[in-house]
């Protein structure tokens, strides 16, 4: 099954700073997605990037994908306390088995 691994495991920044987290994977993919999980809640889809795309923006989010390095990064600009959450990547390659990594726990300090 496909599984991405997020890095770092934990990240603490001041409000207003940018937050960058990474995802690495091992096999070919069709797309890659990022999800956010607030404490005690279900995951929420943030953004999907296809394998033929290199960069994608959505509001304060910027996602890059480097298929040659099998990695992706999620950048959150001008972070807010409300961005405090865990972030997960999910790789898609046509498999029904959708497995997540351990996530990056982001803490934004007001």
């Amino acid at each position: 099954s496909q599984q991405g691994e997020e890095d770092p495991q934990a990240l603490s920044i001041q409000e207003g700073e940018n937050a960058t987290m990474n995802c690495s994977y091992k096999t070919s993919i069709n797309n890659l997605q990022w999800y956010r999980q607030n404490s005690g809640r279900g995951l929420v889809h943030l953004i999907l990037i296809r394998s033929n795309e290199r960069e994608k923006h959505s509001g304060r989010l910027r996602v890059t994908l480097d298929t040659s390095k099998k990695s992706s990064s999620l950048l959150i600009t001008a972070s807010r306390a409300a961005d405090t959450a865990s972030y997960f990547c999910l790789t898609g390659a046509g498999s029904y088995q959708l497995t997540f990594g351990k996530g990056t726990k982001l803490s934004v300090i007001p």
Binding site: N30, R41, G42, L43, R50
Partner: protein
């Protein structure tokens, strides 16, 4: 629009008691359905997935089981709970195909504490 309902939201069960968590999806047909478990402060563990009625794939052998009696209903069960079954259980669904065909939609989760 599609919605997913998962219940109960919270439950405390004694060791050895049975378990039934239910999940239903509205506004879509023939979804892929998933059960995940998340231990405190940990990542998500895929437990079961289903691509159709009566079809269940198990990822982790354990004392849990899943059933899909209807197209949009997914049930997680146990005959006898263990302490290690405690955790946060998430139901999820997705459709196949289209640009966002891989997007997964999660329920709000069920907190299970086995005492």
């Amino acid at each position: 629009s599609q919605t997913i309902h998962q219940w109960p939201a919270t439950l405390v069960q004694p060791v050895g008691s049975p378990l039934s968590l239910e999940c239903t999806v509205e506004g879509t047909s023939n979804p892929n359905l998933y059960w995940y478990r998340q231990a405190a402060g940990r990542g998500l563990q895929l437990l079961f997935y289903s691509v159709g009625i009566g079809q269940i794939s198990s990822e982790v052998p354990q004392n849990l089981s899943a059933s899909r009696p209807q197209d949009r209903q997914f049930i997680l069960s146990s005959k006898k709970l263990l302490l290690s079954d405690s955790g946060f259980y998430l139901c999820a669904w997705r459709t196949i195909g289209g640009y966002s065909g891989n997007t997964i939609y999660f329920g709000e989760g069920s907190w299970l504490t086995v005492v």
